[in-house]
Amino acid sequence: MTSSYTKRIDKRKFDELRPIKAEVGIIPNADGSALFAFGETVAIAAVYGPKPLHPAHMQNPERGIVRCNYNMLPFSVTERAKPGPNRRSKEISMVAGNALASVIDLERFPGTVIDVEIMILQANASTRCAGINAAAMALAQAGVVMKELVSSVSIGKIDDKIVQDVIKDEEDWEEGEGATDIAFTMTSVTKEITHLQLDGRIQTNRFMEAVEAAKNACEKIHQYQIRALKGEKIDETK
């Protein structure tokens, strides 16, 4: 059977990311902040804390907690997004918080909270991945003690092709085997998975291919994160 998806819609290679934008320190008032963009998907993140946690019943006497808030701004999509939390954003906030918390040394400040705010300025798929990448950079810049960074990427199976960094038009692909997209977050050095969400159907052997693709893509993203944290303003979109 011949594949219907021979070339990517935006003419990228199957293992190519969109042009990346990355910068830290974009919000002077925050303890740490960063911007991360995959092409048209732009996310900013701000980190506050560790700071005292109220209400007190949420405090954990053994460790600090990470309180993550993911939100898409009303103008981030063509059809105005209703502001405020919804089912989707609450779920993403939770998984993003967990993805980040696994590398942070939370036992250092018991009973405190680290607030992570992720805002999506512009959306064209992979918003949670861009958000987590920005948040990881913001956490590092905020001087939070952490084992390593995390990097996040979406891997797609469009028809029978494994692709890196999915765009909206690919997510909507219907020919052949259709579209599957998998959001991965991996620790940047050891490449352990801290977050994985799968939307669609995929064969077991192809899934392992997707994991390998994610490792490859996360390494590329990690390099961008390091460069940005060392003071470089990365903008490949120009």
């Binding site: 303890d31 590092a140 001087g143 084992k147 050095v189 060392k230």
Partner: protein, 246 residues
């Protein structure tokens, strides 16, 4: 677990002091900026210090900051992040709440701080605590102790007490040494040329009192130091800035 870690660290410092005479290690390496997870140095010659860990023979960063080699020990000097309270720190705080036995104060950092009535050097009527300091008042205090989930403050040292009037600004606590300068040279420069009183807390809270123009000028100068803290010739820049208007 925590205690073990500390003891371990102390041991390392001692070891370091003993080996300090061996000048075979490059102590004057340029300070490198590292990110969490980055391998700083490889080999058995190195020991992990503050904010680093050892995995196999690699010394790895646990925090964003500048690397400092001190003999065999490698540590990271943080350049960002919230104030981490230590016993003995002189800080500036704002009264957040008054309880029957003292003041709750905001001094930044991960925990709220408490100044007990007993730690106040003069007699205060228990029924009228806010006569000494009310909510919103600014005080210079010293950290008497940091315990799990709270900070204890004291006023029983010279130079501490309520700061009347003036304004409070907040900066990154890691920039405080730059604002003060060598033996207070920078802060004295600002004080003299703006004719203000300035009190810098180690928590990055700064209290300024003077006439309006002076306060504004001093605040701008401090913000300039914070922005340009890594550039060379900072003192000259500040001198030029302060001399500019007069």
């Amino acid at each position: 677990m925590n205690r073990e870690f500390n003891e371990d660290n102390e041991e390392r410092t001692e070891m370091n002091e003993n080996n300090y005479s061996e000048e075979s290690y490059d102590t004057k390496k340029e300070r490198k900026l590292v990110v969490p997870g980055e391998v700083i140095e490889e080999g058995d010659d190195y020991l992990p210090g503050d904010f680093t860990r050892k995995e196999g023979n690699k010394v790895i960063a646990n925090r964003y900051g500048l690397v400092e080699h001190n003999g065999r020990v490698i540590k990271i000097i943080p350049i960002s992040g919230v104030f981490e309270p230590r016993r003995g720190n002189n800080v500036i705080g704002r009264v957040e709440d008054i309880t029957f036995s003292g003041w709750m104060m905001d001094i930044g950092g991960p925990y709220s701080a408490f100044l007990p009535l007993m730690e106040c050097p003069r007699f205060i009527n228990r029924n009228n605590i806010d006569e000494f300091a009310g909510i919103g008042d600014i005080m210079a205090v010293k950290i008497a102790g940091v315990k799990k989930g709270g900070i204890d403050l004291t006023l029983k040292f010279r130079g501490l007490g309520v700061l009347e009037d003036g304004r409070l600004i907040k900066i990154n606590p890691h920039k405080v040494p730059r604002v003060i300068g060598k033996e207070g040279s920078m802060i004295n420069l600002i004080k003299d040329s703006t004719k203000t009183e300035i009190n810098v807390g180690q928590n990055g809270y700064i209290w300024i009192k003077g006439d309006l123009a002076g306060e504004n000028k001093a605040e701008e100068a401090i913000q300039l130091i914070v922005r340009e803290s890594i550039s060379s010739g900072l003192t000259e820049k500040i001198e030029k800035f302060l001399g500019g208007k007069e």
